[in-house]
Symmetry: D2
Subunit: 355 residues, 4 copies
Amino acid sequence: MPGNTFGKLFRVTTWGESHGPAVGAVIDGCPPGISLAPEDVQHDLDRRRPGGRFASPRKEPDRVEILSGVFEGRTTGTPISLMVRNHDVRSRDYNELAKTYRPGHADRTFEQKYGFRDWRGGGRSSARETVGRVAAGAVARRFLEGEGVRVRGYTLALGSVACDRGAMDLDRADENPFFCPDPKAAQAMEELVAQVRSEGDSLGGVVEVVAWGLPPGLGEPVFDKLDARLGAALFSIGAVKGVEIGSGFQAARKRGSENNDPVTREGYASNHAGGVLGGLSSGMELVVRVAVKPIPSISKEQATVDRDGTPRTIRIGGRHDVSAVPRIVPVCEAMVLLTLADFMLFPYPYRLKHR
Amino acid sequence: MPGNTFGKLFRVTTWGESHGPAVGAVIDGCPPGISLAPEDVQHDLDRRRPGGRFASPRKEPDRVEILSGVFEGRTTGTPISLMVRNHDVRSRDYNELAKTYRPGHADRTFEQKYGFRDWRGGGRSSARETVGRVAAGAVARRFLEGEGVRVRGYTLALGSVACDRGAMDLDRADENPFFCPDPKAAQAMEELVAQVRSEGDSLGGVVEVVAWGLPPGLGEPVFDKLDARLGAALFSIGAVKGVEIGSGFQAARKRGSENNDPVTREGYASNHAGGVLGGLSSGMELVVRVAVKPIPSISKEQATVDRDGTPRTIRIGGRHDVSAVPRIVPVCEAMVLLTLADFMLFPYPYRLKHR
Amino acid sequence: MPGNTFGKLFRVTTWGESHGPAVGAVIDGCPPGISLAPEDVQHDLDRRRPGGRFASPRKEPDRVEILSGVFEGRTTGTPISLMVRNHDVRSRDYNELAKTYRPGHADRTFEQKYGFRDWRGGGRSSARETVGRVAAGAVARRFLEGEGVRVRGYTLALGSVACDRGAMDLDRADENPFFCPDPKAAQAMEELVAQVRSEGDSLGGVVEVVAWGLPPGLGEPVFDKLDARLGAALFSIGAVKGVEIGSGFQAARKRGSENNDPVTREGYASNHAGGVLGGLSSGMELVVRVAVKPIPSISKEQATVDRDGTPRTIRIGGRHDVSAVPRIVPVCEAMVLLTLADFMLFPYPYRLKHR
Amino acid sequence: MPGNTFGKLFRVTTWGESHGPAVGAVIDGCPPGISLAPEDVQHDLDRRRPGGRFASPRKEPDRVEILSGVFEGRTTGTPISLMVRNHDVRSRDYNELAKTYRPGHADRTFEQKYGFRDWRGGGRSSARETVGRVAAGAVARRFLEGEGVRVRGYTLALGSVACDRGAMDLDRADENPFFCPDPKAAQAMEELVAQVRSEGDSLGGVVEVVAWGLPPGLGEPVFDKLDARLGAALFSIGAVKGVEIGSGFQAARKRGSENNDPVTREGYASNHAGGVLGGLSSGMELVVRVAVKPIPSISKEQATVDRDGTPRTIRIGGRHDVSAVPRIVPVCEAMVLLTLADFMLFPYPYRLKHR
């Protein structure tokens, strides 16, 4: 099966290119009877576009239209089609890029796979593609809210600036353009971004997503464990090069006696597992982290070749962000939302509860 | 769909519990005409059971039987059924565990999902389940060899002992029981294991898997990118808490100018991407790493509860490994093999080449 | 998985309700490099709307918009999103139907499944839904044409009027509004329709679809045999109550010596099999037939109940066709096209030929 | 995805060839807590082998072994692996058939797809393959019984001998080797079989399957309607050339006023729909029929060619049944059982009831 569909029971198919007429998503399997208005989707789309001064100046009004699946303000159980028109599609900025491969981008690999490519703004491999994910994630969020599940992402680190876990307050993450829960770190991020922008370079970072309220027993052993599906979900985002659950790579250096979470009547005395045991939700907070690579589009000169194999140098100008962080935060949230919504529809443990 | 099937075109379904009659796998979609003998599968099964003195003394002869799909020594294109009988299934060791939840295991989450559980040796969530993966992976390896693709895993770190990249020689990884390519590190690992065993504790580690010979263009954007499927594959292994591709979490701290791989006529001047660009294979070496948590079964005393919620302490005796590393190495290899075999059957870029 | 997606490698997801803003389809997996213009799709959509005097007077301009997946006139290998706006959505005709169940329709079963329903014009269970199928089928047709495969449907019978096989000329099927290849039968159909319309009743019929140029070996034993997938494809069309392949139900009354097709060097001396042997295409013409039930919306009085269970009578007025035939013919074609396009992308026999 | 898996949530993968070591099935997604013993499966396997004097004298003890997924007599929610060893695999009967194509069989199409074939007894395309279906169907039956759903198949016609609907008594269908509910017809069938056997020819027939107790709302519009999935299920059986639901092909000749089922408070005043409205179960009896072609293996001389294309004549001797009916009856039942079990696990209407 081709790869533009995510999920098994709450199923999302996204479509659209950076400079085509529109981008969108079709959700198949959303439960019926959920109250849904365009504003619900718009809210998450707007989070993807913080509009702070560090964001891309490219204008993306991103007005979502709900084309099907909703009747009298409620989902009907039939496919929900969401569309966002592309407006600012000045492909002239990119004309020179039709023949030269941008380092760190999918330009050549797309040609190797498909024979040619829509080179305008990266085509399907543009971050613009994530609009469909965020729109669909917003619908998943509406469903999950009704089930008592909440999902929140935030920036843990931008380049060398990392949050101090002791100083983090998730409620303050929306107060700065970085979705950064440590106000002091947010300040340092601002300075770092200004400096790196002036150097014509770019930054990576680390994003964490947490989910509360999951019932225990979500996940489908052995290949569709909750962590396996989360891994797929998060690695499917363009810039992600690493994913951790709970203690993650630190677990590799720990002893079992340190890393095991003692079992209590109500749950667990610690959460090194990050909310997943044996591939199933444990009822504790779900905690995942992703490593985001620096944006490959930089104005510094880089060595590359063109389609004929002739060596070229390239400087990528235009309106690029300095980092995929923070705009990737709502995308990471969306992928966690879609993963969880999907598992919430699997027969067990739900049926057990209602027998 | 329930979770015991992996892959879309090269599809593997595994089955079996630790103390049931047998474990096995059914492969659907293996290309016809591939020479396959039981010995091919046996070889990889034997690697999963190094038999060194650090391995579990539990005896697992693990003789594989090919029940279908092979005629006159060649695969026919029909399902290949592989079975390994369980022999050493003394469930008496575990009888006390029927009612008490082992910390770090899936005991309680399985009950929360399914209502009850096969508590003998961990049932389906036992590492015994991976026999089916390794057997199927061996068939994938036969297919991939014919396509010029090679896959190799090894131990990068065990607890605090890490390989020195400069001292690594992959050809020597099979000379020690740790699949460790740095002979000096292997020596230190041996000492560490002896010490930790005497403490009744356990160790985590880091495993790296590399694949050579991939054609460019493998992967299915946007949700089934090569890295997304690898992430799912590797996170589906019991003890894995983190996965990285290429520079991984280090990419989060780099600048774009450092992390981008300059494009050359033949490929790329570096490989921070780890062989994946835009979710498609680049033609460079594929490089993935996984963080393995310490084995939760330790003989040190731990706090837990029983099924009634009454607090208990538990010491897990018996024949447990000190670490999932190195036995997890062939399992990681198997999951990479299965992922790659699957993508090799997708229509593009294959059809392009033969048009 | 919810049911709005068809196919595995050439995958179509349709969406949209009769009286919502639009209907459409997303195709994932269409091969790259196929020349595709809106007119190609429009042509098939127009066939679905013959506009003859027996067709519904409801106006459906049905202008298709290609929203993604095409660049410089060629498919790119990324999802192709097709949308047709709904224009004539006067739901006032239906207002009285919100509470009363129409016999032969899905009104009550939808409520039983989802809790409530979009009652406007049948919502998702309206024949309007097939616009997405036909649009996607047109894209499949473009792909198949390039592979030498041709698909054609026509009306074999309308009510009691059946074609005389000896008088059939497929090239003349487009000359009458019934897609009827027997001009005399077409004349009789016209008269029958006029009479039944005046009685306020409706008619069923039989449609046949033939495909030429299939390579031998298409189909995936044992559950996704070519005939099994065709059966699913055709039974998924609203009004279809029976499907036959080749000699179909007549085979039940034949002897083996009559029904077997003698094998020749080039093919087979007869085609009772209808082009499928052991679930695989034989290289002969593919021949399938469907039984179409009479349209349930009739102006004759019928007995029913309302949502409260109170007995009611109902007369369904408005702009309904007298029969789903002939408008169902392009829909049947579309489902055969989508089925064949899907199988054409499976690895075998294709890879064998190009090894 | 290759074709040896059926179902989405109650998922069955079958494997095995006629003359390989064994045949079997793996069920993934069977609900936990269902009481299951080998005898439950054995019972249905024995029905597939009536042992009457019209059945094949080939001995098939067909002892099933449950290899996983059951603990203390109950299903655990993990995969259930079922295996039946092949015993009577004298391939010498078939040796001459290695090079000559049998008319009406998949010999040449398998070679065209896969390049070569396991020619022993038809290999994977042998009716022996259905053992796995019937075994898995027996497990589905155990699940469905607990949900109040019952499924029963029987023979409606064998060659020219058809049941008289007025004389049918389903409770008497097991009293004769034909699963024929009309005792008089059963008598005539016996005579017809004796005669056709003496002629060295074979017979087709018609099988009907009925299901009682289905909750309304099963089915997944629009492509996985209940009838669409049943169509796929039944057409996937080797000898099936036609499938009907409810009034089937007769509906094509009816008026809407005759074919519509009046709606009542409790259900419907008639059941021309066969229990399916808009692709969803209506709560009425589900009624499907299949047309079974005459067995192609006949001892009469037939014209064919060998692998080199040289014309040959062939007489197929050995231990063949005169008709796939009645042994196909339990296979048809199994496919209906598997289809219904699958839909019973879909989220709606189940969740609605328990909200």
